[in-house]
C-alpha cells in the first residue's frame, strides 16, 4: 500500500502538485488520470524517487519516505518495477537479456537461476518465441510486454506504469491492461498507472485519482465514474463523442 500525504511539488516557483493525498491499495490497479499537464507524470516521478517532493510525505507500507536513509531508499527502489511510456528497453540487448538485466545488476544469483526466472516471466507475458530478438524487431505491444516482464521479474511490491497503452491499437491496449491487472492480482502488487486512456479506466480502474491543474479533483472507481456529478471529471470523461454516446446508453 502507498499513502500520499499532502504532496506538493514546484519547478522554478511554479506549483505543479498542490497537496495531493491518496491511498493506493495492494492488489488493485490504481489509476492516475487527467489531461496533459495536470501533474500525472510529476506525481509518478515523485513516487519513483526521480523527483523529490517539496512538501508532504509518501508512505510505502507505512514506512515514510522522508525518514528513510539512502540504504533504505535503495532497498525500496529494488521493490519497485516501472513500465515506461516508450518501454525504455535497452536497444543492444535481446528480450531475455533485458528481462535478466535487473537481476544481473542487483542480485548475486547464478546465471542459471536468473535465466530460469526470466524465462518464467517471459512465458507469463507470452513472448517465448521472441526471447532472442532485439527490441527493434518487436511490435509496440510486444515491447510493452517485455517492459512489463522486466518490471516484475524481481517480484516487486510496487509497480508503476506510465501511459502503458500509448501508441497501441485498442485491442492490444486491452491485452496490456489485462496483463497488468492479472499480474497485480496474482502477486498482490500495489500498481499505480498513469493514463489518459478512458478504455483503460473502464477496463482496469479499480481505484482512480483524477488530477486537474495539480489538484486532486476527484477519486473513485470505474463503477462510480458514470454516477458522479463532479463537473471536472465529467468534463474530462465526456470530452469525446464516444463517451457521450456511452453515457446516453448508460442512462
Amino acid at each position: 500500500m502507498i499513502e500520499l500525504q499532502n504532496i506538493t511539488k514546484s519547478f522554478d516557483g511554479i506549483e505543479i502538485l498542490k497537496g495531493i493525498s491518496m491511498t493506493f491499495e495492494a492488489g488493485k490497479t490504481n489509476l492516475i488520470i487527467g489531461q496533459s499537464g495536470s501533474g500525472k507524470t510529476v506525481l509518478l516521478k515523485c513516487l519513483l524517487g526521480l523527483h523529490q517532493p517539496n512538501g508532504g510525505d509518501m508512505l510505502f507500507n507505512n514506512q515514510a519516505l522522508v525518514e528513510m536513509d539512502d540504504d533504505q531508499r535503495r532497498i525500496l527502489r529494488r521493490e519497485m518495477g516501472m513500465v515506461f511510456q516508450g518501454s525504455a528497453l535497452f536497444d543492444s540487448m535481446t528480450v531475455l537479456e533485458n528481462v535478466m538485466f535487473p537481476m544481473q545488476m542487483l542480485t548475486n544469483q547464478s546465471e542459471a537461476i536468473m535465466r530460469k526466472a526470466a524465462e518464467e516471466v517471459i512465458e507469463r507475458v507470452n513472448l517465448v518465441d521472441a526471447q532472442q530478438k532485439l527490441p527493434a524487431e518487436l511490435s509496440g505491444g510486444m515491447q510493452k510486454r517485455v517492459a512489463i516482464a522486466r518490471a516484475v521479474v524481481m517480484k516487486p511490491k510496487y509497480l508503476f506504469c506510465d501511459e502503458p497503452n500509448s501508441g497501441l491499437d485498442p485491442k492490444t491496449a486491452i491485452v496490456i491492461d489485462n496483463l497488468i491487472r492479472e499480474i497485480t492480482q496474482e502477486n498482490n502488487i500495489t500498481t499505480v498507472i498513469n493514463s489518459h486512456d478512458m478504455n483503460s479506466v473502464m477496463e482496469i480502474g479499480d481505484s482512480i485519482l483524477f488530477l486537474k491543474n495539480g489538484v486532486k479533483a476527484w477519486e473513485g472507481s470505474k463503477e462510480l465514474i458514470f454516477k458522479t456529478d463532479n463537473e471536472a471529471i465529467n468534463d474530462f470523461v465526456y470530452s469525446s463523442n464516444l463517451m457521450k454516446k456511452v453515457k446516453e446508453v448508460y442512462q
Binding site: 526521480l50 516501472m82 515506461f84 516508450g86 525504455a88 545488476m105
Partner: protein, 245 residues
Amino acid sequence: MKLLHHIGAYFLMLRLVFIKPTKAKVMRKLIFQDIQDLIIGSLGIVAFLSFFVGGVVSIQTALNIESPLIPKNLVGFATRQSVILEFAPTFMCIILAGKVGSYITSSIGTMRVTEQIDALEVMGINSVNYLVFPKIISMLLLPFVINISMFLGILGGYTATLYGGFSNSADFIEGIQMDFKPFHVTYAFVKTLIFAVVLATIPSYHGYFMKGGALEVGKAATVAFVWTSIVIIVLNYIVTQLLLA
C-alpha cells in the same frame, strides 16, 4: 553564468562516476564492449589518416628545403617531431572527438531520450557510473592508438619521401634518429591520457544531460565536439607549457 553552471554540473557528474559502483562482473563486460567500440573501432581511421598526413608532412618539408646547406635528413627529423609532438597526440584526439565523442554523446543522449537512463535510475543503479566509468577506463587505452598513429605517420613520411624521390632511405632514417629525446614520447603520452579523459567525459556530459528529442541528440553531439576540441586545445597549451617550456 551558464558556462559556470555547466562546469559545476560536469564536475558533479565526475564525482558520481566513482561512487556506488556497478558490479564488477557487469562492469568488466561493459569495459570490453567500450574498448571494442571506442578503441578498436577507431584504429582504421587513425591508421589511414596517420599514414597520409605523415606523408604530406614529409613532402611539404622536403619541398620547402631550397638551400643546399640544409641536410636532407631534416625531412625525417621534421616528420618525426611533427608526428610525435603534435599530430599524433593532439590532432588525432581532435579527430577522435568527432568520431568517438559524437558516438558517446549520441548513444547516451538516445538513452536519455528513450528513458533508458530513467529505467536504470528506477532500478537503483548509478547510471552515471554504469555509462561513463567504462568509457573512461577504455579510453585510457588511447596511448596505444596514438602509438600506432606515431608509427604509421612516420612510415607514411618515409614512404612518401622515398617514392616521391625527395630524399633517400639512409637520410630519412638518420633524420628520425637524430637528436631523439625519449621525453618527447613521454610528453605525448601524458597529454594523450589527459585528452582521453576529456574525450570520454565531455561527450558523456552532453549526452547525459541533454533534453529534447532526436534532433537535440544531433545538436548535443555537435556541441560536445566543439567543447571537447576547445578543451583539448587549451589543455594542450597548458600541458606543453608545463612539460616542455
